[in-house]
Subunit: 150 residues, 2 copies
Amino acid sequence: MNRLTPIALALAGLAAALPAAAQFQKPEDAIKYRQGAMFLQAITFGRVAAMANGRVPFDAKVINENIELVATLNKLQFAAFIDGTDLGNTKAKPEIWMQKDKWNAKVAKSQEDVAKLVAAGKTGNIDPIKAAVGAVGRSCKSCHDDFQLE
Amino acid sequence: MNRLTPIALALAGLAAALPAAAQFQKPEDAIKYRQGAMFLQAITFGRVAAMANGRVPFDAKVINENIELVATLNKLQFAAFIDGTDLGNTKAKPEIWMQKDKWNAKVAKSQEDVAKLVAAGKTGNIDPIKAAVGAVGRSCKSCHDDFQLE
């Protein structure tokens, strides 16, 4: 047991009712699902970052709604990297399924940084949100550097 | 003012902080965003329907989580049918932007049927959920029949 366990459990809970593979009828559905979730997440996180960095006027209610949405989409994305979805129309590197410990640690770090962003959002103050946005951005990049094809 | 007004207001509130077009940097982003939201919604609604129709064992907690997710994705999808996104890689018919009243009524009906599904989910009973699932399915089909290219 390590400190990432609660997050790993929360992730596992996402698909508690069914074995992961049964959540998708075809591997290409899981691939399209995670790509959709990741795109929506990128747009939504971009809105959060724009407000945190002062490019758009700060509105605590709006940024919180977008942060909560990032947290939801982040979970959806990771729920679709199931076994058997390493081939096809995907930029996911096979290392995701070959280096499971490393991948799981990156997923847990991402969820942890997003949870901190959710907490920062609840303060209603721009400074902690800005710091948490930076951490999430680095978390995204770190995983893409290792596990996403160019 | 008619009985759809509260729903129309709720929809408008989604993008309250910025003019709709400013929420997306490029028209193709809005198109890809709504396609992603619609695909995630289809997969999630499929899980709800499978449980409501007895193809998967009923679990009140899981079906409620999926119903709430359908409601979120439904809002995201409709927030991206903004002006200037009628051309490009889209199956959206130009009628969406040419018959605004008809389109808005279909959107309102969809949101209303989804709100009823959310309420049915909270009962924890399969029968009202099954009925509400049927209504949402018909709502989806009705809009696709009129406004989606084959």
